[in-house]
Amino acid sequence: MGDYFVLIISCILINNILLAQYLGNCPFLGTSKKMETAIGMGMAVIFVLVMAGALTWIANKFILIKYDLVFLQTIVFILLIAALVQFVEMFLKKSIPALYAGLGIFLPLITTNCAVMGVCLINIKEEYTFVESLVSSFAYAAGFSLALILFAGVRERILLARVPKPLLDTSIGLITAGLLSLTFFAFKGMV
């Protein structure tokens, strides 16, 4: 049980996918202008990443390793994640329209999200068990949402600051992201 706790803490804070591993920066900058969008995106990432983590783990174990085709990992994972997102989109539209209305516009964005791909690859690299990779996928996604929501909050406040003209908007966003990242570096000492 303690191992899982350490795993969760390290995935959310220490190895935060956005601020420590620098994956998924496009949605980090693109959907962080408004808190509302950031929350929507965060939820969609949690939703998709848990499923993608499970699916890619299964594909890796029962197809790639079994037939000794690990070199196909990247291309197979891309295919699977894309298909999965499409499938989930269709499923939600039919079965859970309310959830679709909330997450709908974010789902296609995740198809090409490197954070999702990265977490799937990390799961394999770290040789997690199925349950571990589920937990790590969830925790990475939660870390992603945490960082995104924190960042969106900061950006909403930045509007009130005296920002020099040349640094407005994305420039000050990147500087803020850098500072946030430095802050997260402090967690390195925890474990």
């Binding site: 070199f71 298909a83 269709m90 509007l159 009130l160």
Partner: protein
């Protein structure tokens, strides 16, 4: 190697099959027209239309929320093809237009100074902006940056100005504006909007029963845009020629300049632009929404009925007016004398309204020629009842039915209805009452050649309910006033002809419920005023005899004042399909009240016809004032005399029915419009001295 290819093919095929099965299993029916419409959009997913991609825009078109011209990249060709798919003509859906409702946010005082916040969104987060005004424009230009069409620019006075020619109505500015200043609305939505608590409203606009955007039209006059001013007024009041002449302008009582100086002559400015349009000989085009094909009957062609018909027509409904008299206009034609509102002017105004496509059936009286039931059988889905208040109240004294005794409206309508505006009258006439009808009667009598005309009123001049200007005009014309006199009986000779009016002298006692001092009779003070004609003009009520033919289910509830019992916000009677406004609902009141009521009823009827719940906004302001907008002082105002009303000389006017009040000159209109402080809600900054000095 082969193994790898096979595995990839297998996975690919598995995914493909799974997705195709899923697309069947999880298929959600979509209108096939959506994909057809999408085919004709540019497919660029540019978002310029304001929707999230072309398919979302296509869905909006099919749902009727967007016009066929939605695709701004595709242009007119795409609009025509999409219109063909939808089976409509390309221009038929109403265009959305962005409007800026704040015109002076920069003149409200500052609450704080901080130059860090550089967007409106940021300022809105800091105590709602740095101006004292809670509803006005923040002026940082978020809307300008949001506009993909370059249709908004920062005006010289620091608030955004929309270029209507470039605006496509995408709604981006409305979403960007944190203050609801820029609103993207169709014409119908604008016509259906009533003053609300969080609107940017100057005190005059809050007061006007028709809710005309007064600061805007005065500003347009100042800039020389007379056509724009006419259109601004027409969004709220179709009878601008009439109101420009007869309205007692309650708005001017709340004019902020009036606190320190004489109020702006708002109504003369209205009359100036209205007359400008009429004298130009060319009617400005009035757009109407696409036809809905729904039929509405308007019973009564007075100001309330004409106003209701006008707004319903502009909302796209089919309206028929049923009028009992030979001509439309109601009390404005048959109650207001020719010298205040010439028939020629009224005819021109009403013709313009009928030209929108309204049918008028004249000489059709409710209860005689048709009933509410017969109208419904004819296919009218909703009925507006604006029959006015034409039944004169009797004084209740003996001798009132002698030859030579008249009732106010009866007399005025006889004069108005006769071709040369002349009927035989007495030599010495007395009119009982102190309201506008009484004044209309005496001034008419004077013009018809009466030698001596008296007003007999039981209180004093101070308590007279008539408009001050009317009383003054009557005094100038040599009308004699017998105040503090209550009629006791009408004296007649042996042939039954009136020879005098006996009255009792009164004195003022304690104030009554209306706040006016109650007249108390002085015992034994009976006096006879020698007259040969007596007109009683002491008030009117709606004549409810017209409903005698109706069955019990088709009879609306009536109040104890004989008016229709309706919901004052919605104007719906106890019968869901029946709406009412004007004097028939309120008792005798102002023309402008009837016009505002007509539009209010039109909104309810529109909701009723389109299957929406008949309702109003929670924020409705209706006749109330926003407390923060009423100032006690307006520092910095330098007095500038109000433009006087040009009028005919007394000697000239009392011999004819020629219009007494004349229109002001263009130069005076420019001067008067520059007296307007251009207030909106609370913004007023003496330091800027805009129009102040």
């Amino acid at each position: 190697m082969i193994e790898a290819v096979l595995v990839m093919m297998f996975i690919g095929a598995a995914c493909g099959i799974l997705l195709s099965v899923a697309s069947k299993v999880f298929y959600v029916w979509e209108d096939p027209r959506i994909s057809e419409v999408e085919y004709y959009t540019a497919g660029a997913n540019c978002g310029g239309c304001g929707y999230a991609g072309c398919s979302a825009a296509a869905a909006a078109v099919v749902a009727g929320k967007a016009a066929p011209s939605v695709c701004i990249v595709g242009g007119p060709e795409s609009a025509q093809k999409i219109a063909a798919v939808m089976g409509v003509s390309a221009g038929s859906a109403e265009a959305l237009r962005s409007m800026n409702s704040c015109s002076g946010g920069f003149r409200a005082a500052d609450k704080y100074f901080y130059d860090g916040a550089q967007t409106c969104a940021a300022l809105a987060n800091l105590h709602g902006g740095r101006r004292v005004c809670s509803v006005g424009c923040l002026g940082m230009g978020d809307c300008i940056r949001s506009c993909k069409f370059d249709a908004i620019h920062m005006g010289s006075e620091g608030y955004p100005v929309v270029d209507e020619a470039k605006c496509v109505g995408c709604g981006a500015c409305e979403r960007a504006c944190p203050k609801n200043i820029l609103t993207v609305r169709t014409m119908s939505q604008r016509l259906l909007h009533f003053n609300e608590l969080d609107d940017a409203l100057a005190p005059c606009q809050q007061t006007c029963p028709a809710e005309i955007n007064i600061p805007q039209y005065i500003d347009q006059i100042r800039k020389g845009d007379y056509a724009g001013a006419v259109n601004t007024i027409r969004e709220r009041n179709p009878l601008l020629l009439t109101c420009g002449r007869v309205c007692p302008h309650p708005c001017e009582n709340y004019c902020r300049r009036g606190i320190e100086d004489e109020p702006v002559s708002i109504n003369q400015l209205k009359r100036f632009v209205a007359d400008w349009e009429m004298n130009s000989g060319r009617r400005l085009p009035t757009p109407c929404a696409p036809d809905t094909g729904r039929k509405v009957a308007v019973v009564g062609g007075g100001p309330a009925g004409v106003s209701c018909a006008y707004f319903l027509r502009r909302l796209g409904h089919n309206v028929t007016i049923f009028e009992a008299m030979p001509k439309l206009g109601g009390i404005t034609r048959y109650g207001i004398p020719e010298y205040r509102l010439p028939d020629e002017v009224l005819d021109w105004e009403i013709q313009g309204i009928l030209d929108l496509g309204i049918e008028a059936r004249l000489n059709q009286r409710l209860g005689r020629d048709f009933t509410l039931k017969s109208l419904r059988d004819e296919g009218y889905e909703a009925i507006f009842l604006g029959i006015g208040a034409w039944k004169d109240l009797a004084i209740g004294v003996p001798g009132e039915d002698q030859k030579g005794c008249w009732k106010g409206i009866e007399f005025l309508s006889q004069v108005a209805g006769s071709p040369d505006k002349k009927i035989p009258i007495g030599k010495r006439c007395a009119v009982v009452g102190g309201g506008n009808s009484a004044i209309d009667c005496v001034r008419t009598l004077k013009r018809l050649g009466a030698e001596e005309v008296w007003i007999v009123y039981r209180r004093t001049r101070k308590e007279m309910p008539a408009n001050e200007v009317e009383i003054v005009a009557a005094e100038h014309e040599g009308i004699q006033f017998q105040f503090l006199a209550a009629p006791k009986r009408v004296v007649a000779d042996a042939q039954g002809r009136v020879v005098g009016l006996e009255y009792l002298k009164m004195e003022l006692g304690e104030p009554d419920a209306s706040g006016r001092r109650r007249p108390v009779p002085v015992e034994g003070s009976e006096t006879i005023l020698a007259v040969d004609m007596v007109i009683s003009a002491i008030g009117q009520q709606p004549d409810q005899a017209c409903l005698n033919q109706e069955t019990k289910e088709d009879r609306p509830a009536i109040t104890r004042w004989n008016t229709y019992d309706n919901d004052p916000e919605l104007l719906q009677t106890s019968l869901p399909y029946l709406f009412t406004a004007g004097d028939a609902a309120t008792g005798p009141s102002l023309v402008v009240d009837a016009i505002g009521g007509g539009r209010r009823a039109a909104r309810s009827i529109h909701q009723f016809l389109t299957g929406q719940p008949v309702q109003t906004s929670q924020m409705s302001l209706r006749k109330k004032h926003i407390a923060e907008s009423l100032f006690k002082t307006v520092p910095g105002v330098v007095k500038k005399a109000r433009t006087p009303m040009p009028e005919l000389h007394v000697a000239e006017r009392i011999t004819s029915m020629i219009e007494v009040d004349q229109v002001i000159s263009e130069k005076d209109a420019a001067y008067e419009s520059n007296r307007c402080l251009n207030c909106c809600r609370i913004c007023y900054n003496p330091d800027k001295r805009v129009n102040v000095a």
